[in-house]
């Protein structure tokens, strides 16, 4: 047990979660009070002692599943012969099914046609029967995934194979049809919406079951440590914008909101608790009058840190769109910290999108409008930084004042167009600061068609902003 826990903690640390020694000791003590058989409670006991940040829970969950998935009787791998309750239930169910339909297929799932399986799965999902769903997941993996011991492919491959056979996408439609038929009268739109959500929720759960089942089998095959290594995923704040999957995007978005709140609070505090300013001579003299002209009480000016004016110019072409979106969201979420924010987006043409953000309080709606309505394509829809900058300079260059900070966002992959870097040089001369944020890893800069170096010489700094952590660090420095 001790050894297992130790391995577990080491893996958590490898996954980037900060686990201190005292927390480790607490966990050891905690597990003495909670039996490992009570899996959920056991998991929460470990979680409560080891994980102190909710954003880390997902990573913890994965590692936990890997390390403790083979423990506890009900989590044994069903090997088809059936020795657990679930298999028992499964068989009963199957018999019923067969009696009802009147065709005496034999054995496990092997004897059934895919249509029959789909039918059964649908039944299970419609009834929302947890045990059934788990059994179905087990059997489907067994039948469809075609797992072979020692085969060096990832879990996603098996997952894909299983899901392809089950065809869950059309399942939702079928289920909706059925519930429409079953309802006594027509479903109202609200009811339909609720039904649909319920079903897609169940389907998601079912997918989760399948994933867990595959993971269990892989762990049994390869051992926990090897498995944990392949499943290691970056924490939300370390996910790279450019390579984030859809799930990761969702979790990124979720962690953006508390982050901006914290950032705004921190910046406001920074303003408030600033040191006192220089001596206020007039005020000191005025106060000295009450002491007969002796300046006994020196008065100081209140510091008035100037709020910078911000111009964001963002490349929103495919490769860096996610990064631009996040930066815009972050900037607008803390726009109170700037006296004025204007934003421009471009691909090869350039358009101002400030009004989209002014029109609505809802940042994500504004971002959506940016993506759909902004007029950013000039010729072919491939990034052309040179042309976009030129347009910017001609149209808006006069608006740049010595109080303005200009942020340029993009990977500077210019598709070998003319760079027009003189624009950046001109901007730098007029503006207070010019910064370039590049979502690419530093080692890729200036390779291929990236000319970030050429632009970079005319800015006050080029920053690597691959993940939320780096972005947050930069914005704090800016405001």
């Amino acid at each position: 047990m001790l050894k297992l826990l130790n391995g577990f903690v080491v893996e958590l640390r490898n996954a980037g979660l900060p686990v201190s020694l005292t927390e480790n000791l607490d966990a050891m003590e905690a597990v003495q009070h909670i039996p490992i058989e009570d899996r959920e409670a056991f998991k929460y006991a470990l979680g409560a002692t080891l994980i102190k940040n909710h954003a880390h829970w997902r990573s913890f969950d994965t590692v936990f599943e890997v390390y403790f998935s083979l423990r506890g009787p009900e989590y044994k791998i069903g090997d088809g012969d059936g020795d657990s309750d679930i298999d028992e239930m499964w068989r009963e169910m199957q018999e019923q099914q067969q009696n009802a339909e009147g065709n005496g297929g034999q054995g496990g799932m092997d004897g059934m046609t895919p249509e029959e399986i789909a039918q059964m799965l649908m039944q299970a999902l419609m009834n929302g029967d947890q045990g059934m769903m788990r059994a179905m997941a087990k059997q489907s993996v067994q039948r469809f995934a075609g797992m072979e011991p020692g085969r060096p492919v990832g879990g996603t491959y098996y997952l894909y194979r299983t899901l392809r056979n089950l065809d869950l996408d059309s399942m939702l439609e079928k289920m909706m049809d059925q519930s429409r038929q079953e309802a006594p009268d027509d479903l109202t739109t609200l009811e339909e919406r609720l039904e649909k959500e319920e079903y897609s929720d169940r389907i998601e759960k079912f997918k989760g079951e399948i994933e867990a089942e595959i993971r269990r089998r892989l762990v049994a095959d390869r051992g926990a440590e090897a498995m944990a290594k392949t499943l290691r995923k970056p924490l939300p704040e370390d996910v790279e914008f450019m390579h984030a999957s859809r799930d990761e995007m969702v979790s990124l978005k979720k962690s953006l909101q508390p982050l901006t709140r914290k950032l705004a609070a921190r910046l406001a505090r920074k303003r408030k608790h600033g040191r006192k300013g220089p001596l206020d001579f007039r005020s000191t003299v005025r106060h000295s009058l009450s002491y007969g002209g002796v300046p006994a009480e020196p008065q100081f000016k209140y510091p008035r840190p100037s709020k910078p004016e911000l111009m964001v110019i963002a490349d929103i072409s495919g490769s860096v769109a996610a990064f631009a979106r996040f930066t815009l969201m972050l900037v607008y979420a803390i726009s109170g910290q700037f006296s004025k924010v204007r934003s421009f987006v471009f691909i090869d043409g350039l358009d101002e999108v400030t009004d989209y953000f002014k029109a609505t309080e809802d940042i994500s709606e504004a971002i959506h409008r940016v993506n759909t309505e902004a007029d950013v394509v000039w010729v072919d829809g491939h990034s052309d930084y040179g042309h976009a900058f030129e347009v910017f300079w001609n149209k808006y260059g006069k608006d740049i004042t010595p109080k303005t900070t200009v942020l340029l966002l993009g990977d500077a992959r210019n598709n070998y167009h003319a760079s027009q870097s003189w624009v950046v040089k001109e901007i730098q001369q007029k503006a207070r600061h010019v910064y370039w944020l590049n979502p690419e890893p530093k080692s890729y800069w200036n390779t291929g068609d990236s000319i970030v170096g050429e632009y970079g010489t005319f800015t006050d700094g080029v920053y690597e902003c691959r993940n939320l952590r780096q972005l947050e660090g930069f914005v704090e420095k800016l405001a």
Partner: protein, 297 residues
């Protein structure tokens, strides 16, 4: 660590017994909540409860106090909270009075008076000191701990890890019994590592569909099962939208109560839209939800 000195309590027998007891005072705990509460008692450690507003963080502490029959001592945190309001304070006026009464006769020595005025009699106990000096069992609730400044957080460290308070004039006061401590946070800022390390961590999120339905059934008298089910499902649907502030459990309950008062037994779109302002508190959110609920896709 001094964990050897602090022996675990035995207020609860098992995780399940907590769940059952909590259910009796109509607080429906999930696995996480019950097991962390159980551990808090066994290990004698404080619990840091985090989560969105209105998910029953404060209620958890209250309910635990109720089922253990303990006194609930609550410290509400706010910006500018200091030692004298959280820990203890000397009763200056009384001390002054004491000195003045002595002035007439010079029979007593100065040191006697000094010893005298820095004694228990002149100490005003504030919530934290009160919690550990109490003879009877206590549940200490430190509410919204993220509102105090980082520096003030340090005040809590001694009491949280060792259950003692050091008063320079009196020495160290150690707890007579280990109180169950709950700290709640709405996560407006990152709490310090030192504080987190000393606590068990519990994240309370919006409840799952089934649990929310149970909560509505338990908390709203006379509600029918089908209405509770509908309420829970509509609320879940609304929570999935991208809103400024998702409806909390307490707002769900308010909504259910409103529907009861209006004598409604099935929710349709019209009713849902008309009463949305109970669930959502931002105009943009209401507009969005109205739009989403009427579009059929």
């Amino acid at each position: 660590m001094t964990s050897t000195e602090i022996s675990g309590g035995d207020r609860f027998e098992s995780v399940q017994s907590i769940r059952d007891a909590l259910k009796e005072v109509s607080y429906l705990a999930d696995d996480g909540i019950a097991s962390v509460a159980f551990l808090a008692d066994k290990l004698g450690k404080p619990v840091l409860v985090e989560g969105p507003a209105g998910t029953g963080k404060t209620q958890l502490a209250k309910s635990i106090a109720e089922i253990t029959g303990s006194k609930l001592i609550r410290l509400q945190c706010y910006e500018g909270l200091d030692e004298s309001k959280a820990l203890y304070e000397w009763n200056y006026k009384k001390q002054l009075l004491r000195i003045q009464t002595e002035r007439g006769d010079n029979t007593e020595d100065w040191t006697d008076i000094q010893d005298d005025i820095f004694s228990d009699e002149f100490l005003l106990t504030r919530p934290l000191l009160e919690a550990i000096t109490s003879e009877e069992p206590v549940v200490l609730l430190i509410d919204e701990v993220d509102r105090v400044e980082v520096e003030t957080e340090a005040l809590l460290l001694e009491i949280l890890s060792d259950y003692q308070v050091s008063i320079p004039e009196l020495g160290t006061i150690t707890a007579k019994q280990i109180p169950l401590v709950f700290l709640t946070s709405n996560n407006t800022r990152e709490l310090s590592e030192a504080l987190k390390r000393r606590c068990l961590y519990l994240h309370v999120d919006y409840p799952e569909l089934d649990r929310e339905r149970e909560i509505v059934l338990a908390k709203v008298p006379n509600i029918t099962e089908s209405l509770a089910d509908q309420v829970a499902r509509v609320v879940r649907s609304i929570r999935q939208l991208d809103l400024k502030k998702a409806p909390s459990v307490s707002e769900t309950l308010d909504w259910a109560r409103t529907l009861m008062i209006l004598n409604i037994d099935t929710i349709d779109e019209k009713i849902a839209k008309e009463t949305l302002n109970i669930l959502l508190k931002y105009q943009t959110d209401i507009a969005k939800a109205t739009k989403e609920l009427s579009v059929d896709d």
